[in-house]
Amino acid sequence: MANVALRNVHKTYPGGVEAIKGIDFEVGDGQFCVLVGPSGCGKSTLLRMVAGLETITGGDIDIGGRIVNQIEPADRDIAMVFQNYALYPHMSVYNNMAYGLRNRGMPKPEIDTRVQEAARILEIGALLDRKPRQLSGGQRQRVAMGRAIVRQPKVFLFDEPLSNLDAKLRIAMRVEIRKLQRRLKTTSIYVTHDQLEAMTLADILVVMNGGRVEQIGNPLEIYQKPATTFVASFIGAPPMNLMPLRDAGGFKAAGGDGILGIRPEDILLLNEAPAGGLALNLTVEAIERVGAETYIYGVRSQQGDAPTVSAKPGELPPGEVIVRVPGAIAPAIGERIRATAPREKLHLFSADGRQRIDL
């Protein structure tokens, strides 16, 4: 049980490429922290730095009050679950889990107790004699988790552990990982590019981009109040609609231009915009009906029928807007619809997208 703190952490590769450009955050004891970001944003590198598989070229990583920069992975008291599971192919499931304990010189009976206990928790007791190649993807995943659990480490590190599973299993394992972590109360850091996994698992969500942290916080808070346009479009599916405003005038002086954001589900198909809200005329280009809801891909009309925003927020250039409505609604392709959004559901960002402006 420990908290993990990163202080001004940097990583520069020998070639001069700066992968991590100064990261600070802290994961409290027993919390589940998710690092999320597009591929190449440095989230895996950061996790591997916590694990000790990558050197730290600047700043400190602190696990349980001890700076671990120079400490070998085995001595950091962490356990890691890899994306491809990295099970030892020639060892049985039992030995895969026991290997790390044996290397530590733990007495046999205790190893056995721990492995049996982990196997019971993960329901892989019947598989202990099998080799990894005789297991399905989900089972391998469980063994990889088992190998982490038996160590009883201070911190679990997960490197996209579910991305090799099929969609259905992924959801099941996601729930299971969350339950397991709640039960063991072990501090965890989890890397994923899947924003749904990130939202559902995290106590603390760290959104990364280009080697920097874009936003840290409670997942719902991040969803409701994204700090930048990057976060706004990365968290939430379908992504937030972002429209440049040539003159943000109507929406409080932001010093000229800005970017207006509306989540697809916040758009209502009404004729009259609510006071202070936004109204758009859309031509339906495509719809996707997924059952419970319908996604409408509309294009804002270009001329003649100029977009109207009741609170005069300046001009909106043409572009695509995604609207999420209940599944029963299904406008025809080419139909013109009027989309509105109340003022309190609008997000405004500075023109470079780096800053949120409160409306």
Binding site: R48, A51, L53, E72, A74, M80, F82, L87, Y88, P89
Partner: protein, 282 residues
Amino acid sequence: MVEHRPLNDIIAYAILTLGVFIVAFPVYLALIASTHDAATVISGNMPLLPGSHTLENYYRAVFVGGSRTSREPVGHMLFNSFVSALGIAMGKIFISILSAYAVVYFRFPFRKAAFWIIFVTLMLPVEVRIYPTYKVVSDLHMLDTYAGLILPLVASATGTLLFRQFFMTVPDELLEASRIDGAGPFRFFKDTLLPLSMTTIAALFVIQFIYGWNQYLWPLLITTQDSMQTIVTGIKKMLTTTDELAEWQLAMATAVLAMVPPVAVVVFMQRLFVRGLVETEK
């Protein structure tokens, strides 16, 4: 898919059968010759069916040696060959797996250079470096010793390359998982890399055992005592007689015996051997 026509099949089989016949017939002749007495073999009319002197010929070849030229019995030569082939095969595997491990997994100064130097030795087979090698071996007083037969042939670029290629296919995550599991470089090698390399080791063993067994020039140069010669050089010496008839039936029996161990190694290790060369999925 190639079109199937009976005529094509017949032609293909005929050519293949002819090929097999051409390769196998001399071997068959050796086998036949080893079952007749000296007079029959020498007469010039080589029979195509086995004769009645099989046991006698093989007994003499293995335990007694030739009567007219006082040569070592084949039993001892087989032993010499076996020791040196085994020594060469195992030595090569030992050295090349360690050097490949170093080249692939460790970052040290001049790593690339080290690899290229190993690679370049492919261009220097024993025959090319035979004089300096002989000089070194003789200065070290290793003439007529097993060490002299084995050591100069132990370094192997082929083996290093084969292991290197294999190690590169082992996922990095295994090394990382080992590090987290507290396994140092030696443990990782012993517990993970070595068991995974078993098929590659088997393949290399087959190749190098036969390579060692078939060595001719080197043993011929450095062994002067009959008690140290290998079977491959021994056959030749059996036929070198000054004023008497060569005992062809014994030479043929020796040749047949010389073929047995490599064939046995291939037959028994074939399954592993093939897997080692074709297996890519780990």
